[in-house]
């Protein structure tokens, strides 16, 4: 693909995105239905991406198929965001995009041109823990720690969304995030405590 401005790139991307997404995101066992022999392998051009991560503008050339999750982990060394399923089912990859909690495994990077991304690494600007991080630590709201980044990003959003008023509501709005070690009770304790302080997070 020839160099072009972002708007053109986006249109160009959209035209081919359906085919690419179908090819890339479909589990291989179902692909027989797509008659794979008919698909001609095409080189995937790099697309220019301008994105703000934890307050810093990042301008990179990315594979059109790369998810924000893989961009963060594989290209930009933001490994605090975790990969658990790549299907939007486990919540380990939860980040904030333009202030909303989002599963980064379901977001193509080039679909988030000029977006503002916050990851676990950017939750606080200082060396001090964010109140939610401190509460997770205090309540031992994790064991292996792998789902923790996603739980904390969802927890912060849960409070900001005003859904942390009761334990039942917290649970309902945290069902987006799986913890296989089973720290749920401690996670809810942590969120409840932060919500009760009423401080703006």
């Amino acid at each position: 693909m020839k160099p072009c401005n972002y708007n053109d790139a986006r249109r160009g991307f959209l035209k081919k995105s359906a085919a690419i997404a179908a090819l890339y995101l479909t589990p291989s066992v179902f692909v027989k239905a797509f008659a794979v022999d008919a698909v001609v392998p095409i080189p995937i051009a790099k697309e220019k991406l301008s994105i703000t991560i934890n307050g810093k503008l990042v301008q990179v050339e990315v594979d059109a198929r790369i998810t924000i999750l893989n961009l963060l982990r594989e290209e930009l060394s933001f490994t605090g965001t975790k990969k658990g399923c790549e299907m939007g089912q486990c919540g380990a990859c939860t980040i904030h995009i333009n202030g909303k909690r989002t599963k980064s495994c379901l977001q193509l990077a080039v679909g988030n041109q000029n977006a503002k991304v916050t990851t676990i690494e950017g939750l606080t600007a200082t060396d001090k823990l964010h109140p939610m991080q401190a509460a997770f630590l205090k309540h031992d709201a994790f064991q292996c720690g792998y789902c923790t980044s996603g739980q904390i990003m969802s927890a912060v959003a849960c409070v900001r969304e005003g859904k942390a008023k009761t334990r039942d509501s917290i649970k309902e709005y945290m069902d987006t995030n799986i913890c296989r070690c089973g720290a749920y009770q401690n996670i809810v304790d942590a969120i409840e405590e932060v919500a009760k302080t009423g401080i703006k997070i």
Binding site: L23, Y24, P27, S28, V29, V31, K32, F34, V36, V39, P41, P43, I44, D63, R65, I66, N70, R73, E74, S77, F78, T79, G80, T81, K82, K83, G84, C85, M87, Q89, C90, I120, E121, F136, L137, D140, F142, Q143, C144, G145, Y146, C147, T148, S149, D168, I170, K171, E172, M174, D175, N177, I178, C179, R180, C181, G182, A183, Y184, Q185, V188
Partner: protein, 745 residues
Amino acid sequence: MNTNKLNTIFWEDERVDGADKVTGKARYTAEHSLPNLAYAVFVTSTIAKGTIKNLDVSKALEMPGVLDVIYYANCPVVPGYNSNAAERPKNVSEWRGHKVLYDNKVRFFGQPIALIVADSLENANAAIRFVKADYEIEKFETNFDKARLDAANLKAPINYKRGTGNTKTVAATADGEYTIPIEVHSPMELQATIAYWEAEDKLLLYDKTQGPKSTQGTVARTFGLPEKNVRVIAENVGGAFGSSLRSWSNVPAACIAAKKLNRPVKLVLTRPQMFSLIGYRPQSWQKVNIAADAEGNFLSINHEAISNTSRYEDFREGIVDVSKFLYACENVTTKYSLLPLDLSTPIWMRGPGEATGCFALESAIDDLSYQLKMDPIALRIKNFTTINPENKLPFSDINLKACYEYGAEKIGWKNRSAVPGKLKENGWLIGYGMAVGVFGAGKGAASVRIVLSNDGKLLIECAVSDMGPGTTTSMTKIAAEAMQMPIAKIKFKLGDSDLPPGPSQGGSGTTSTVGSAVDLACKTVQQKLKEMAIQFAPVFAGATADAMEVKNEMVLLKADATKNMDIVGLLKLANQEKIDLIINSTGKTPEQLKFTSNSFSSHYVKVAVNAMNGKIKVLEVVTTGDAGKIISPKTARSQMIGGVVGGIGMALSEKLDIDHATGQIINASFGDYHVPLHSQIPKTDAWFVNKPDLNVNDIGAKGIGEIALIGFAAAVSNAVYNATGKRVRDLPITPEKLGFKTAKA
């Protein structure tokens, strides 16, 4: 709760590695980066059994960024793959398990048949569908329920018999068949390996493993390398629950690719692959028969079991063992057979066979209690024993009665109806249930390096890994207590095979085994400090080591604390930069072997079953652990409530579904395989007896990882029976099995 000598000066409640985990700094296997890293992905079979007649990789090789497609026809020679011992290089053992990329045979649906290596993950993934396999399909069997009915399919039965058979009058008999489907560990971190050949015969691995030493040994034996030439790093492990107790196909595949391409290769399984390539709790059928007299004394227990394995390996666990020793009973028979199916090999999953066995045994005891019109707790106390009836050795310690007392009080056992189906709250049927769990409490050999530096800091190292329970925290606490020094000055390093050998983290053995080594190492350092003080510090001239102690970072005379010297000053006085020792701790001593040692648990559950649609809710849980001294109350509690969550999944939702027409797993995702979520978890009270068991080890601590889950599913099932009068012996318990057609919340 903690009554040990440590006061709050030493007590830092949070996990020592907790800050790294809440800030995203903790690095897991796939997060390590190496220059020129290539990405590998598996192509997996779409048949359950057969032969690949032709594998066309040409189109995949043409795809952008693809570096290689490795499969049976072009796989480099792996010394350990050679089945013929005579043809293998010396000291190279055969690879256990499925030899990935080795031959054109397919042994289970989803088996890796090729490995695509590319310059990016996107390019590797995009090439998967261009690998085309032509198969010759063979007849296969994945249907456990069907296959187990033909005795000819069963293999390797192990029988046990104690006593001459019951001759006394039987007042009641509990007799039932219990079935548990395949359950899958489903840890949140994906199984991953990064392999890098630093030299022709030197391999660096970042691997998700519960045992860096175990992986090191396996890889060294497979590739014909000296162990010291294989370094395995597993700094943080994102949950495993048994699934990372052995090296699966991802390990040799990454090593093979890295060798063939002469560059580091990262191989991370996908979530669907996590359902078929890293083991599972085997499917099982059990039959338990308990006969009792009118007073409730167990007259005989018969426990039969069948669990599945793969065609290419036998996997067996302790399913029937619990029935042999948990209760006093003269006449016990057990029989346990394996049923090979065309599936991958199972592996221990949290609680392993004991969780399976306890579901049946503890359900049967509950069944018996209703027949005898006895309280289930009273029935257990009636058959309580302090002597293990199987090996006739006394239990090192057993405090189940204290657990019963606490649990019954806290759950409100007095509110339980002795007749099922009698309690109702807001249209929901209410039931109470309890059950017991038990697991062996071993103590194995381990080595640690201990370094006390003249800056006053203590470093302890061991090649274990931590999958989440908090090993660094508990080891640091053991060292703090033994040395009587602040936690902040102690560092425990793990997760690297270059460190002194420690066990794999499994079977609830880490705290006992490694903790004993840490304790011994600290005591040895203290002894050295005392000797050093006598030799170099005039204040101790003529003193004996026995008259001295080390605490608060000082050496001092027990009788006169004013005669003291601080550790840092002493090391400087002796002109020693550090004390640096390797300490080897052995398994159980002859004295400890005079006992049989176990950890015990009991679980109490209050459930509600919707009278209209059968929806089941766990309302409240009390779980109690009898596991010696609790080293780290906060993390131990987390481990117990985590076991409850796993137990709720086992009881109410977890089941791997296989389409027996194709052999394909059809619910290989979190959307379809239902692990418990936030909203399904009730308030849980976790309590420990917290009494040191010094017959097991010097620190008095036993494991809790397994007992947290063992027995829990039975407690739920027993509560559901109490609520409804319907006993479900087939997990998971669903509204349909309770006789309801649909369950809409």
